[in-house]
């Protein structure tokens, strides 16, 4: 009896060993390699994306009369939804895509790579803004390497798209956010190449991220933007159409990926349409 017990123990022990061994071998074959740290800013794959993509946009669409632009936002860690969103955009024949920020949820280098690889599935050029979640840890450093400067602009269809970093709380209000000097420079530079302006940001004025002490000053500054059409933002995880200052200037809020909708803007010579798309 005792011997049987020992034998039984030996065989169950061997089975347990085999299961543990098998599991570890499975991990070895599938693991992603040596991981230094979630915030190590050791970026594998494509970097400097915004500069490359803006060059393509400016080259292809500099003088195009009609533009179709998809605005997506707040994909966070909803990767499956973001993938579906990319697929949906790919079917709708847009000229380029703007991601309004919050590419990640906790700004780890892995998350940046996941969202980048999803966005690289787009069949058209795209640029991405930095959202407040993308600042966590060393996230802003990862963003700057992977995408580029937090404030940037490009011209397509004789329209200047000015993308502003408005995440003032992430800097504890100590940085020039929003950067009025950058705005002024953009309003006055290359004025022969554009007639209209669209402002894009992650967090809108009056939101919990914006430096709300300068909400009115920000609006006054926008008066210098040549042919200002509208402002587009993300951050709120809801679709919205509003006049924040009750003065006719439209603010369009782009929903998050979890809610499975975004907006496509069709710009013509005499105006624009902006349509909410569900997928």
């Amino acid at each position: 009896m005792k011997i049987m017990k020992v034998e039984l123990f030996k065989s169950t022990g061997k089975i347990a060993l085999a299961i543990v061994g098998g599991f570890l071998v499975h991990l070895l074959l599938s693991c992603s390699g040596f991981e230094t740290h979630p915030y190590d800013v050791n970026i594998k794959g494509e970097t400097g994306i915004n500069a490359k993509q803006m060059a393509i946009i400016e080259k292809e669409f500099a003088n195009k009369e009609e533009l179709r632009i998809a605005f997506i936002s707040d994909t966070h860690l909803w990767n499956a939804e973001a993938r579906d969103e990319v697929e949906d955009v790919n079917r709708r024949n847009v000229d380029f895509v703007v991601h309004c920020g919050d590419l990640t949820d906790t700004a780890t280098e892995k998350e940046f790579e996941w969202s980048r690889d999803i966005l690289l599935g787009l069949n058209c050029p795209f640029v991405a803004l930095i959202g407040n979640h993308d600042f966590l840890g060393t996230g802003n450093q990862t963003y700057e390497v992977m995408y580029g400067a937090c404030d940037f602009s490009f011209i397509a269809g004789r329209i200047k798209f000015i993308c502003l970093n408005t995440n003032a709380v992430e800097y504890d209000y100590l940085a020039s956010v929003p950067n009025f000097d950058f705005m002024e420079e953009q309003f006055t530079k290359d004025t022969d190449k554009f007639d209209r302006t669209i402002i894009i940001m992650h967090a809108a004025p009056f939101s919990d991220q914006f430096n709300n002490n300068v909400c009115k000053a920000f609006r006054r500054y926008l008066d210098f933007a040549p042919g200002l059409m509208c402002c587009i933002f993300g951050h709120d995880h809801s679709d919205s159409v509003a006049e924040f200052y009750n003065d006719g200037l439209m603010f369009y809020g782009i929903d998050c990926a979890l809610h499975r909708n975004y907006r496509i803007m069709t710009i013509k010579k005499d105006g624009y349409e902006i349509e909410q798309i569900f997928y």
């Binding site: 061994g21 991990l27 230094t36 970026i43 966070h76 860690l77 780890t108 709380v169």
Partner: protein
Amino acid sequence: MVMLTCSLHVMAGDSLDIQQSKFDRRLERRQNAWLSLIPTHFVIQNAGNMGTLSAGIGWSYGKKRKWETELLLGFIPKHDSSRPKLTTTLKGNFIPWKIDLSKIIGKIPEDRWRFDPLTVSLYLNTVYGHEFWKSQPGRYPDGYYEFMSTKFRLNLALGERIEFKIPENKRRRHSRIALFYEFSTCDLYIRSMFQGSDVKLKDIIGLSIGAKFYTN
């Protein structure tokens, strides 16, 4: 430290000829307690979300020395960030089974090579730098990033190891040497699996290899 070793020496001499007094026994107990703080091993490993390379000291204890606690200092190179970073890690290991390899492979001498088919580790890593906070700073509204700390990472690792006992006549600095590997992941990555519907286990698992040099 000098005083401690001196008194140790005196105590050893005293206990030879006279019976231990209550005081002596207490002193010995206290000294033994302090002696248990002397590390039992030196450990070095790569990766594991604590830097490219980490090194530190450890204590093995418990029945059959199935438990270990380690304190490691890690180094993260600059890569594309603004500067290199240091980390410290407090790591607990549990080694449920220890197998003498002579019982499986006949040719090798008894009690020389040992195989531990599973190690389970839980460790807390701290990364240093002003970019990282232990809980959300006051500038954020309540509950803004309440779910996380950017400074502290809780990690979980599963691994295996093989240990070689150095023959007593050949020992110089160490008595045993263990080589190990482990697969690890951290709290943020486990969270990402729940948040993102298509984050797979293979996306969040990293490999580490390392060695331990024991003196006990």
